[in-house]
């Protein structure tokens, strides 16, 4: 007998507290990158570093006639100049992913531009751009240890988790990089953020090669190489600020594709009638490993500590009160499990379980990964011939919680989003305390939806949307979104993005969970550190990798 399970309600799933509890999963981009690229040929082409590890390294990733190359520039940086904030102008290393094999001229051109990042200039030959700073305490410790012929302290390795952390990864037309449309027909990058994931994966390899090189230069007689198992346990850190938050508001159709993939996966898994022993065991193994990994989830953020505590208690509750009594003979085990989890666990626990339920099901997940990009152009046009009654109905169906918010209260209007003139980066500030709200970015979606609903309510007679817009073009951006959510129900955050209760890092965590980030470590309500590729196969062993490396 089959069961027809509905997708979860967007009005619940798209609340920021829920989105801010998402975990990495098989759908995450860095995991699907490794699955899709594990039959490509990874090679270090050039290693031209001095005894301090400064210089150039080039890696290539190739298959058939296609080659991508990461060009890395390692530079000397005074400790006083090292900053993860976007206002920094110098970094320990800078990276660019080049399309093809770079010529000597290309490398010289890039050497003059890539270390400058935003104020340098790339070209259509380059695809993604990034920079990174060392974790000073771990980097120096690892080099000292290796040069003395010892492996580094495992406790410190676990505590930090990475040798370098990136502070931005740019792509798609920024600073002269190739526009997405120029490469969109390449089948290997159909999946989401493939080139960004490739860059970060290769940067991780760069960090290992650099420490091995410097240790060897420091003490050629006694130095040893970083143990492979230790290297595997290191990822790449990342400091992420508000820049990511507007992205998910500004790309509604893409956001829908990401969330829908997860919701569709959950629906299909809940509809599975019969689950075998291996599938259940894999789920339990991943749950147990997640519980172990929690011990290394270090943060000083009270907000995150409370969430971790809830997650720990959720896992114990699940193991003791549900999994201990699970019967493989039962039908629709996953659906029963999900229903119990939804009633008994916090959002952290629920979303972890949803992620883990995907682990046994490549055949469900892989086709969904291929649907996680969006042709945003196809949702741009506003159907002017539709009626204002249609528009009102869409709002009342899709934004019913939003139109209940009382924006006459200062608390609901407290913040405004703006772009910093100094760094051209998004920022958020208190509307009543700071200047600049007249230059507010169009990210107050809930407020503008409410405004649109009020105006539609006050219309004396039905109009076409074209007629309505001719007098209300100030709300054109929001009318466009209404016709997107009509088709794509997970395209909109169902919360107030300018209220006093806003926790911007919830928006960052949503995006980073799709990247595959772990160990969210909020440093304030506006930025956090994370780790990527921790536990991932090394470049030399990617061909033999398995997809459960995250839980090894």
């Amino acid at each position: 007998m089959s069961q027809n399970i509905s997708h979860r309600d967007p009005k619940e799933i798209m609340k920021l507290s829920k989105l801010g509890s998402f975990h990495q999963s098989k759908l995450s981009f860095l995991r699907s990158f490794i699955r899709e690229f594990n039959d490509w040929h990874f090679k270090r082409e050039i290693c031209d570093l001095d005894s301090n590890g400064y210089g150039t390294i080039v890696y290539s990733v190739s298959k058939h006639n296609r080659t991508y190359s990461l060009v890395c520039f390692a530079n000397e940086l005074d400790d006083s100049e090292r900053s993860d904030r976007v206002i920094a102008t110098k970094w320990d290393a800078a990276f660019v992913l080049h399309d093809g094999k770079p010529t000597k001229d290309d490398i010289e051109r890039l050497r003059n531009n890539v270390p400058k990042q935003e104020v340098g200039r790339c070209s259509y030959k380059e695809l993604t751009l990034s920079r990174a700073n060392r974790s000073v305490r771990l980097f120096n410790h690892v080099i000292d240890s290796l040069s003395q012929g010892k492996q580094p302290d495992l406790k410190l390795i676990k505590e930090v988790g990475y040798l370098y952390r990136t502070t931005a990864v740019y792509g798609s037309g920024k600073f002269g990089l190739a526009d997405r449309y120029r490469i969109k027909n390449r089948s290997e990058i159909n999946g989401p953020f493939r080139l960004e994931m490739m860059l970060v994966y290769l940067v991780r390899q760069f960090t290992f090669d650099q420490v091995n090189h410097v240790a060897k230069e420091k003490n050629p007689e006694s130095a040893v190489k970083l143990d492979k198992e230790i290297a595997r346990s290191l990822g790449i850190g990342n400091s992420t600020g508000l820049g990511m938050a507007p992205f998910i508001i500004n790309h509604p159709s893409l956001l829908h594709q990401w969330i829908f993939a997860k919701e569709e996966a959950l629906k299909q898994i809940r509809e599975i009638e019969s689950v075998n022993k291996e599938q259940l065991q894999l789920f339990i193994k991943c749950l147990n490993q997640s519980e172990i990994n929690l011990k290394d989830w270090n943060t000083e953020s009270e907000y995150q500590l409370q969430k971790i505590a809830k997650l720990k208690s959720d896992i114990t509750n699940l193991k003791d009160n549900y999994l201990a009594n699970i019967n493989l003979e039962d039908e629709f085990i996953w659906n029963k499990l999900y229903n119990w989890v939804e009633s008994n666990l916090s959002d952290e626990g629920i979303e972890l379980v949803v992620s883990l339920m995907m682990e046994p099901y490549d055949e469900i997940i892989n086709p969904l990964v291929r649907q996680m990009s969006s042709n945003e152009e196809s949702y741009f046009e506003i159907p002017g011939e539709r009626l204002t009654t249609d528009l009102k109905e869409i709002i009342e169906n899709s934004y019913s919680n939003i139109i209940e918010i009382d924006f006459s209260k200062d608390l609901e209007n407290e913040n405004f989003w703006f772009i910093s003139k100094n760094k051209e980066e998004p920022r958020i500030a208190n509307r009543f305390e700071e200047e600049g709200s007249d230059l507010e970015q169009p990210l107050a979606i809930a407020r503008d939806i409410k405004d649109l609903h009020v105006r539609l309510d006050n219309l004396e007679a039905q109009q076409t949307v074209a007629e309505f817009l001719s007098n209300n073009n100030d709300l054109r951006h929001i009318v466009r979104r209404c016709f997107i959510i009509e088709k794509l129900p997970y395209s909109e955050i169902q919360d107030n993005s300018i209220g006093s209760n806003l926790v911007p890092i919830d928006m960052l965590r949503l995006k980073l969970s799709y990247f595959g980030a772990q160990k969210f470590d909020p440093r304030s309500d506006k930025w956090l550190r994370i780790c990527m590729y921790q536990g991932a196969p090394l470049m030399e062993e990617i061909h033999n990798s398995h997809d459960n490396w995250m839980y090894s």
């Binding site: 070209s123 949307v465 001719s470 073009n473 951006h477």
Partner: protein, 212 residues
């Protein structure tokens, strides 16, 4: 490897973002600015001077006293004021179905007609018909497949105004004669297999007579 670009050229992403922000900074709403960003990039993709025309338009728009409210029924060749290419373009885009029904619209005095052009391109795509846009001695055919043909070289030109403008929705029609079609069709049938009696009865799903 991508080819056909210069190393220095601005990307579409940059053109869209900068045009959109410049529009907003010049008093347009965010929604209208989104339309402008898309259109300026479209002009540049057609190798027309979108950025140059838009920059000049922004410098002059306040002194031109441009008309920004329209009624398609009253658009005529005797406009008293000069039409804003952006607001008129948006108005017609939102009323694409009316443009389709009217078939031909004539009016006078349009500022910066090249900025108006991408709106016509998008209407052509929306209604699934080619559109002929004439302004003064310039004739442009906009094809629903996102291409256009122009009767003169407009590359690097800034056109500040047009006196007489005509928008004509073209009927979709074949560009070839029936005779040519038949010749080509005849040739294409050489890929078919002649059916014998057994194939006629066995190679398809239903029976030869299905009177049940």
């Amino acid at each position: 490897m991508i080819t056909g670009c210069t190393l220095e050229m601005r990307t579409s992403s940059e053109i869209i973002t900068v045009s959109k922000r410049a529009a907003k900074a010049s008093g347009f709403s965010w929604g209208v600015s989104e339309e402008i960003g898309k259109n300026i990039n479209l002009l540049e993709m057609f190798n027309l001077s979108g950025v140059e025309n838009f920059n000049q338009y922004l410098k002059e728009k306040d002194s031109l006293n441009l008309e920004s409210k329209f009624n398609i029924a009253n658009l005529s060749s005797s406009n008293s004021s000069v039409c804003c290419p952006i607001f008129l373009g948006i108005y017609l885009l939102d009323n694409s179905n009316k443009v389709l029904n009217l078939k031909k619209i004539k009016f006078s005095r349009l500022a910066y007609p090249l900025i108006f052009l991408p709106f016509m391109q998008r209407i052509s795509y929306n209604i699934g018909k080619n559109i002929r846009l004439n302004f003064d001695d310039v004739q442009i055919e906009l094809h629903l497949t996102n291409t256009l043909s122009i009767n003169q070289d407009l590359k690097r030109k800034i056109i500040k105004s047009a006196e007489a403008v005509t928008i004509e929705v073209l009927e979709n029609e074949d560009s070839f004669s029936n005779k040519v079609w038949e010749e080509l069709h005849e040739l294409s049938t050489n890929t078919f297999v002649e059916e014998n009696e057994r194939l006629k009865s066995n190679a398809a799903g239903a029976g030869l007579v299905d009177n049940d």
